[in-house]
Symmetry: C2
Subunit: 325 residues, 2 copies
């Protein structure tokens, strides 16, 4: 009998899940569509059926010790998803309660960036660290902050929304309804907007990106163009790093982390994003912080990263790994 | 025999100290000049003599359990003051080590805003809180951040410099050498600069503040003028609250505190500073945080507040009060 945690990562497009041992080994994993479900009940029903089918494929006997879920706007204290802009299910969803109708097990929910931070703490590059930040660069920008060896949930479970710090007065309109949020600049969506702006402002600059509609652009396409020397693409990465670097310098002035990890699609662009981000972070750091804060790629490499983070939440909460200092 | 802590608050101008019981009762206090000492050795020597003289005036017998010191740029982990812009002693000062040449006692040092936060936690308005922020509005702007019931020191002991988050690109020049730091707007110095700017930009506006040189202006003078309806003074408070409110909204997106306490001279201006700060904070908060974060005056009222904070550091570290959750 192997003890496992069921780790689930709910994304705006797809939901991945897997059965993972305490050492992070994933026995099996699978995914379903999130976006095709207009309501939470049909989503959970399909997810349950999929999980049960996947479990049958396992050759080992397992005991599920608990379920860990990472989701946008997931609230650790309340077990709810609240007003998530990137999900179709609106308002407040009692996800943990709904889940426990299917599984009489401990269920823990947190936002996807906090799950990534817990994963980093237990399996990744932050094993020896007590103070660090994980920035997830996806459709939006999420953040998980760790101080004194503990995730910062804040009094209401919603701490760590660095993507929604306002960095430009009257700046770009954000999905949250406000203007100038960091994630409108530093995210897959943000860099796409930057490319479109740069193309408009440099009408004579030759760029292969000019052939794309906004909807068809992606971080990966911009990355490929930059690697081929496309000036618009390179400048888009530079500008993204500038906005991110400035914001990270301000984040350091809050919690003074030992390291900041970049996680997610845009972070895979390597030096294209790390170099300008590091440069502008250092440029804007207060003297006492300069040359102290490491900017690192996530230590959770590979495709299991998100479900590793979600499953790590279980081991952290019900014992054995991580835990309070 | 009464057990006491010696609490010391080192400010740019004066240094206050007192002997305080665990319940916060101050048996006796006194102060010496900081600014008149060009070097740390002569400062410490005078401070020692003054402390010994003051101790003799006590009628009770006391045992000093420890010494707690709040100082600008004080580092809890290293026991140093490092590169404090508002002190004459430059570079890195091993304050705890130097202190222990006079007193063979446990000596704890932290920055003044962290000391204020510990005071708030133990004696003030944050007794029941695990997540809050204290903002000290003095010559500069200091901040002490508490999450999960613990002061956030960060990996290097220098966390909590919200006064040095950059809120305006190419903004006002700061004492730290950079531009656009929050404390160049929201502090006693900041509001003076705002008044001078407003007077220049509104040359026909009648204002009693026009009679003052920059050096002679003070937060208190601007407060008095505002209370008499002076439009320049009122607008200066409004603008200060706007810059502070926006920054606090961003701080909330980091650690999601239950309350933010305003401490120090400018905070004594009451509604003049609280009203615009609250308004602009709410205006800029992400939806999930709106109408949740209390903006409160410090619960450490009176003139002992700073030394209460410093002495609280002793009780917190050597036992009995506060402590880890």
């Amino acid at each position: 009998m192997k003890k496992v945690a069921l780790g689930i990562d709910i994304g705006g497009t797809n939901t991945e899940y897997g059965f993972l041992e305490k050492n992070g080994n994933c026995l099996i994993k699978n995914s379903i569509s999130t976006i095709s479900h207009q309501n939470i009940d049909s989503f959970l029903h399909e997810l349950y059926l999929s999980i049960e089918n996947t479990k049958k494929e396992l050759e080992e006997n397992i005991i599920i010790t608990g379920i860990g879920i990472g989701a946008p706007n997931g609230n650790f204290y309340k077990g709810t998803i609240e007003y998530a802009p990137n999900l179709k299910w609106k308002g407040v969803i009692n996800l943990v309660e709904l889940f426990q109708e299917y599984y009489k097990l401990p269920v823990f929910l947190t936002n996807d960036a906090n799950a990534a931070a817990i994963g980093e703490m237990i399996y990744g590059g932050a094993k020896e660290m007590k103070d660090f930040i994980v920035i997830t660069l996806g459709t939006g920008l999420g953040s998980g902050i760790v101080t004194n060896g503990e995730i910062v949930y804040g009094h209401d479970g919603f701490a760590g929304e660095i993507g929604h710090t306002i960095i430009e007065n009257n700046g770009r309109l954000c999905g949250c309804g406000r203007n100038g949020c960091l994630e409108t600049y530093a995210s897959a969506t943000g860099i796409k907007r930057t490319v479109i702006e740069l193309l408009l402002n440099h009408p004579t600059e030759n760029s292969e990106l000019r052939g794309f509609k906004y909807e068809d652009l992606s971080g990966k396409i911009i990355e490929n163009a930059a690697n081929l020397g496309d000036k618009i693409a390179l400048e888009a990465f530079n500008f993204t790093g500038k906005m991110l670097g400035l914001s990270l310098a301000n984040a350091v002035a809050h919690t003074s982390p030992e390291a900041i990890f970049l996680f997610g699609g845009l972070a895979c662009a390597g030096e294209l994003i790390f170099k300008p981000t590091k440069y502008y972070m250092e440029e804007n750091l207060l003297r006492i912080y300069k040359d102290k804060v490491q900017l690192l790629p996530s230590g959770l490499s590979g495709t299991d990263a998100a479900i590793m983070g979600a499953s790590a939440l279980v081991w952290k909460e019900i014992g054995g790994v991580g835990g309070r200092s």
